[in-house]
Subunit: 190 residues, 2 copies
């Protein structure tokens, strides 16, 4: 749980007593490769903070096509946030691409933590602010980003993932063909 404390304290320092209380809301889980943390159609009980490993958050549209919403790695949060916040069933899958560990938190736990500790309300607000910025950047990339810009944004967001995630998923996230991705990749590494 030291990694959880470090993650929170990067935003707001906690006393030992406060952290003892905070950590009672989190549950540590080991995750194997190809294991699903959230499955389309299930109740969304948790959000997850990644301590280790690589994860893919995606959904499948009416025509059976897969769309990747995000990848997640150490210190990223992930869930089907529409389902989580609205307490609806999931439209997303979260699949583990490389084994690791996560801590999970329920919505009830999140709300209680935020109500009890102003510091945690602050922490969640800052995290949401960063998430909001990331989503707005994604929208601008989808509306007007060239393949080159989308690729550069990906490398900026996930500098260590380009070599760890299968190329087909990177291409899918970027909305480009695998041939275009190979060209972008070799252009950038010249």
């Amino acid at each position: 749980m030291n990694r959880l404390r470090e993650h929170i304290e990067a935003i707001t320092p906690l006393t030992d007593e406060e952290f003892e209380y905070v950590k009672t809301f989190f549950t540590l889980r080991k995750v194997r490769k190809n294991q699903f943390l959230i499955h389309d159609g299930d109740e969304v009980k948790y959000e997850f903070l990644v301590l280790d490993g690589i994860y893919k958050v995606y959904y499948i549209d009416e025509n059976g096509k897969e769309h990747i919403l995000q990848f997640a790695k150490k210190n990223w949060w992930m869930s089907d946030y529409i389902g989580f916040f609205k307490q609806q069933n999931s439209k997303m899958f979260i699949e583990c691409l490389k084994e690791g560990e996560v801590v999970s938190l329920t919505l009830e736990g999140r709300n209680k933590l935020a109500a009890d500790l102003h510091k945690m309300d602050h922490f969640f607000r800052i995290k949401l602010t960063n998430g909001y910025i990331a989503l707005q950047q994604r929208i601008m990339m989808l509306l007007s980003g060239t393949p080159q810009q989308r690729y550069e944004e990906f490398v900026r967001l996930y500098p260590d993932l380009i070599s760890e995630v299968p190329k087909k998923y990177v291409a899918e996230y970027l909305g480009v063909s695998r041939e275009t991705l190979s060209r972008l990749y070799s252009n950038t590494n010249k």
Copy 2:
């Protein structure tokens, strides 16, 4: 300023004393049609809560093409949030389509309010949560929404705007041609 109080109290009740303090951070502004609240290249000093009127938040890409990020109406917040939170110059324009009033808040004011009053930290966190959900829905629409689904989403988000915003802007927001929009519009109103 009663409208500001009602807006905040829809999420968290405030005492008279608390609201007297809160309102000192906000400045009321009347806005004329075609006036810009934020202009590409300017410092992003404020975020705005709409009390009245209709506004368009958009940017122009490298090829001179306009992209609409959102419309805003009563009780919606708007800014170039990347510029606002990161204190960078704006990449966005906010233009008034129908005259009205807004209240403005600085980032410094926002942070001080959130630090001084746990209730306001809570308020901003809930607003950010709703904004996060809306952006994620927009991303899913951009990735996989059919024109019909995009149109229905627009009507759900902005039920009263479809008749007030020029059709060319609605078509641009949806990423469809004006012919397709006319077809969607007449299908839905049969």
